[in-house]
């Protein structure tokens, strides 16, 4: 059904379509609209789920964990400080191999209080064993949330998935949305290690070094297998519903000499910048990284690269720029832009390309090349 919606409402609508047994909810700007909308669905009877209005994000994830280990499909949503407050349980969910799906509305971390878009919140959870995906449009938020449940719950994965959308820029932007009848696109969840009172087991008991190490390796193996599952899920989604995105979305990429790499809404903005640059005769293209974990295998050989990081690791650099350089030899210009919701237009992005200085790092609007 064609409608218009915000990014937040698109996520809520997708959650309604897959009918989780249990949803734990705690408000935080700019995520709140998701849990409000789901509360509406549950109250009106449109969604038959148990809605647990927890007293903190730590408890939101703990409640999802408790529900998930019974074999129930679960969902929660958070942002920024909420995500960091649940950090311990974010680790627990992955370690316990629970296919929880969570929407995280990317927002800067204080102090001072800043409610606008930045990716540093989710990036701080990148080593927890969660799959992470970043979306750029309302439709993509909806489609990806549907896909997230199928990927998380797939027998070859059984890991939690975090769907990230930029605070306000996407969470509160109204765009057209085609809602779907997902049918059996997301099959019922079968959790192989669900609690069974007829076959009692200890979960998370004291575990020695050898077993602990082996369990970590199992997570990594699942993460590696998830690449195939993501691809299969995308393919089936495209066949059924006619839309696909890829691990990283390419735009005028094939013959590009200089490539802009960005995530979330900045990645979409970069496409406009590419058109501008092409009109000027610059052979530009863009790559919007969708999946941060598992990190995509990108072949950037022979191209110049401008990476825009809406994040930073102090004393290290832009996290995407550094991650790409760690994986391949690439002539890269690192731009730090958009922190705390800083406005970054397609003109600005075109400017980064025009004035690129490979091998250096720019803090846009704050400092020259350093």
């Amino acid at each position: 059904m064609l409608t218009i919606a915000t990014g937040n409402k698109a996520v809520a609508a997708a959650v309604k379509e897959v009918k989780p047994y249990v949803i734990a909810a705690y408000p935080i700007t700019p995520q709140t609209e998701i849990v409000e909308q789901i509360a509406e669905y549950v109250t009106s009877g449109e969604l038959d789920s148990r809605y647990i209005p927890v007293e903190s994000e730590h408890s939101a994830m703990a409640a999802c964990i408790g529900a998930s280990i019974t074999g129930a499909r679960t969902f929660t949503a958070t942002s920024s400080h909420g995500l960091l407050y649940m950090h311990e349980m974010v680790n627990w969910a992955a370690g316990a191999r629970l296919p929880i799906v969570m929407a995280n509305v990317n927002r800067a971390i204080g102090p001072g209080w800043n409610v606008w878009a930045e990716h540093t919140d989710a990036f701080q959870e990148r080593d927890t064993g969660w799959l992470q995906v970043y979306v750029s449009t309302v439709q993509e938020a909806y489609d990806t949330t549907l896909m997230a449940f199928r990927i998380a719950e797939h027998a070859d994965v059984i890991l939690p998935v975090m769907v990230n959308l930029d605070g306000f820029l996407l969470s509160h932007s109204m765009q057209s949305l085609d809602t779907l009848n997902a049918g059996d696109f997301v099959p019922p969840l079968h959790l192989p290690h669900a609690i069974d009172v007829l076959n009692p087991a200890g979960y998370g008991t004291l575990t020695g070094p050898d077993e602990h190490f082996r369990f970590r390796w199992e997570i990594e193996k699942a993460m590696r297998r998830s690449r195939k599952v993501i691809a299969e899920t995308e393919r089936d989604f495209a066949e059924r519903f006619g839309r696909s995105y890829g691990v990283a979305e390419e735009y005028r990429y094939e013959d590009a000499d200089v490539v802009v790499i960005a995530m979330g809404t900045l990645g979409k903005e970069a496409e406009v910048a590419v058109d501008l640059l092409r009109n000027e005769g610059v052979n530009a293209g863009s790559l919007r990284i969708r999946w941060l974990r598992p990190f995509p295998d990108l072949d950037l050989s022979g191209r110049e690269v401008v990476v825009i990081d809406r994040d930073y690791s102090f004393g290290f650099g832009g996290i995407i720029a550094q991650s790409l350089m760690a994986r391949q030899r690439v002539d890269l210009y690192s731009v730090i832009a958009g922190l705390g919701g800083q406005e970054v237009t397609y003109d600005d992005i075109a400017g980064f390309v025009r004035e690129r200085r490979p091998g250096t790092e720019l803090w846009f609007g704050v400092n020259g090349n350093v």
Partner: protein
């Protein structure tokens, strides 16, 4: 005498200390709850007592979870079981640190939401698993590794905090009175909503007494009036037998303190504070039981 089932859910391979009250308590809790039960256990001695993966000494499913997360985890579990049409008992089995300190926010939230579960706090009045550091539940005057001169603050009134949430059932119990504990767990599990049982767990290595004295130590706690056995069903308070007798004629609290190494060298002021707290608590509960307040 209450008929207590012969079936054991604690197998003979725990890694508990000799004379462990936690294991004793859990044994009767599970006898009362039966096989259709899941335990949620935050970090505490019971995390270790179960044994090391892939073995377990507990014959019901045990979900071990992070320190602050037990009550919230149980909330999710309880809701999921209900949604699936299952009547499985969800029981949190947590120490005092995981309850009165780091777990109190999740506990409060779960009780406010009237989560259908039973929360059992076994209280050995310190962080036992990490080697006896003070907790909010450590009594005044007690030496722990972080209060080497004796604790200067009073024991947190956990029961009053839980009572403020108007739970459907609240009771105290003690490892030394397993029949009383068994009946309370059984009763709690017949009621819907949030139920709470606070069990005193005299800990031989932590309290520094000989390991065959666990039951005796629990009895001294009750007879001295420092631990009062009572229950509150939908707010109606009943003081239980052993504590009724103790209220009429308590033994001197020194008889309880002097047999524990943790109170060695306790000063008069701390003893008086303990006495006065015990008296006030008894008076308050008596009034509640008589329906005066």
């Amino acid at each position: 005498m209450t008929e207590i089932p012969k079936e054991e859910f604690i197998l003979k391979c725990t890694s508990a200390c000799a004379g462990c009250p936690s294991t004793l308590i859990l044994r009767y809790v599970l006898k009362a709850a039966g096989a259709d039960t899941v335990l949620v256990v935050p970090a505490c001695c019971t995390s270790v007592i179960q044994g090391i993966y892939p073995n377990t000494a507990v014959n019901v499913p045990v979900y071990n979870v992070a320190f602050a997360a037990a009550a919230a985890c149980a909330s999710g579990m309880s809701e999921a079981f209900q949604k699936a049409g299952k009547k499985t008992n969800v029981i949190v089995y947590a120490g005092d640190g995981g309850t009165v300190d780091i777990g109190i926010q999740a506990l409060s939230g779960a009780f406010e939401r009237e989560t259908d579960f039973l929360y059992i706090c076994y209280d050995n009045e310190a962080y036992g698993n990490t080697g006896m550091q003070r907790s909010g539940s450590t009594p005044i005057g007690a030496r722990t590794t972080t209060t080497p001169g004796g604790k200067v603050h009073a024991k947190k009134d956990l029961d009053a905090i839980v009572a403020a949430h108007n739970p459907s059932y609240l009771a105290t119990a003690c490892a030394a009175y397993p029949q009383d504990l068994f009946k309370k767990v059984q009763k709690a599990l017949t009621l819907r909503g949030s139920k709470f049982i606070h069990v005193l767990a005299p800990c031989p290595p932590g309290w520094r007494f000989s390991s065959e004295m666990t039951v005796e130590m629990g009895k001294l706690a009750v007879r001295s009036g420092l631990w009062i056995l009572y229950e509150s069903e939908f707010g109606k308070v009943t003081i239980n037998g052993p504590s009724k007798a103790a209220m009429i004629k308590p033994i001197p609290i020194e008889d309880y303190l002097s047999v524990q190494g943790r109170f060695k060298g306790i000063d008069r002021k701390a003893i008086d504070a303990l006495k006065s707290q015990a008296e006030q608590r008894a008076k308050h509960l008596q009034k509640e039981a008589e329906g005066i307040c």
